[in-house]
């Protein structure tokens, strides 16, 4: 289709054709050399090494394509990621939760919202652990991740799940320890107290990190934690006589947290938040 350009003078096709016909004879006298078969063969030889690289690359891709893809599972990925942290991380975490358990052994007040030591410390401990894992989200690590068949968004989620799982496991161990030491307290209410806080903040963090980035996720999580502490004290006093209502609120928060984690997992599967590694989408299989 002919393009209109107002900046150049209009030339009719007939005028141009006439001029072309007139000059064609004269210009046709300008002949140049024609390469011989030998010249072309030499050129092909010179280009061969460059072309071979193209062939090699294609062969490698074809070989890779023919390899059966192992179905990557989220649990398997979590186990792999858990190995990345190393012993010092687990040891320090265990010591921190152990000390917290010992210090709080005399002051467990589950009825007062989220104000017990577990509810205060464990969510912050979760955020600190996430900040620690943030160092591995550097460009080099992203490069490694980009060649794995596992979507990077799910890789990040698996790390958050590992950290959340660790906090929950240590919290459960601490709760069990308190119960075994003979302390009298409603274990179910106490568990719900800190577990709802940890899971809600973990869900908020997962959801916002994948949608808005790690900074927004962390800032929002800290704000949520502070609000929960403030509101918890207030609600704890107001709802002292209605433990079932407090329990319902905490169950709802826990459910919201779990739903947000699940939604993050589903969105990570679809790669819908722009964490695509560049590999063909149809080749990804995630369990």
């Amino acid at each position: 289709m002919q393009q209109k350009d107002n900046t150049v003078p209009y030339v009719s096709d007939a005028e141009l054709e006439e001029l072309e016909t007139e000059l064609r004879g004269k210009l046709s006298k300008y002949v140049t050399r024609t390469p011989t078969m030998e010249d072309t063969q030499r050129l092909i030889l010179n280009l061969q090494s460059e072309f071979m690289q193209l062939g090699e690359q294609d062969k490698t891709l074809a070989e890779l394509r023919s390899l059966p893809l192992r179905k990557a599972s989220l649990i398997g990925q979590c186990v792999q990621q858990a190995r990345i942290y190393g012993k010092p991380f687990w040891l320090i975490s265990a010591l921190a939760v152990g000390m917290m358990t010992l210090l709080s052994s005399g002051s467990v007040h589950p009825a007062y919202g989220f104000t017990d030591a577990f509810s205060l410390v464990l969510p912050i401990f979760l955020l600190a652990a996430v900040v620690y894992t943030f160092r591995t989200w550097n460009p080099e690590m992203r490069m490694v991740e980009s060649v794995t068949p596992f979507p990077p968004a799910l890789l990040l989620l698996s790390r958050l799940l590992v950290v959340t799982g660790m906090i929950v496991a240590f919290g459960l161990a601490g709760t069990l320890f308190l119960k075994l030491t003979g302390l009298t307290f409603p274990a179910g209410a106490f568990l719900l107290n800190w577990l709802s806080g940890v899971l809600f903040i973990s869900g908020i963090l997962a959801s916002l990190t994948f949608r808005r980035g790690i900074r927004t996720g962390l800032i929002a999580s800290v704000i949520v934690w502070a609000v929960m502490q403030g509101m918890g004290q207030l609600l704890g006093r107001k709802l002292f006589a209605f433990p079932w209502l407090m329990g319902t609120i905490q169950l709802a928060l826990m459910a919201i947290g779990l739903v947000l984690l699940f939604v993050s997992y589903r969105a990570g599967l679809r790669g819908a938040w722009g964490w695509d590694a560049g590999a063909p989408r149809g080749r990804r299989q995630v369990g």
């Binding site: 393009q3 900046t7 064609r24 300008y30 050129l43 690359q57």
Partner: protein, 195 residues
Amino acid sequence: MVTDEQLAERMAEGDQVAFEMFVHRYHGPLLSYLDRMLRNPQKAEDFVQETFVRLIRQLRRGPVPEKLKPWIYRVAKNLCFDYWRSAESRSNVLISGTLPDRADPLSSVVDIYERQETRKELLQALDSLSEAQRAIVILRFFQDLKLQDIAEVMDMSLSAVKSSLYQSLKKLKRRYDASSDEPSGKGDAAHATKR
């Protein structure tokens, strides 16, 4: 006939036959184009090779260009333009006018002389054009490219190509008209020798 794009697709898959067919198909046209553009046989050969190398690298990096012919000529043209802007080009003396055709044992000395004279005249006429105008004329008359393809090679609008080609041809025609009015001493001498 297998299209350029189909050949390139097969090349991208590592097909040796397609690769050789493609080189055979474009070696001549590219060499003549670069010979006319550069008037430096060695440089022209180097740039032919470089154009093919760039195509292979393009196939390695991404998809086959949608319109392969204009794409190839654009690469070649850009190589020429870059070369002309380089210091190497300025330090090289242009080899003009005396570029030999393929040896023709049947040509007489006079025929060769006349051909050289015509060639010299033609080259001088082409030299009166700008680099872009010269490229357009060469692509149109010697490479038989459609105006739309030339527009893509030159990265210009179709009307700009038409206008540029028209201006170039008018300039060439004026030169030819002027030279045919002048008595050609050398030409006469040659004819005298022939007679």
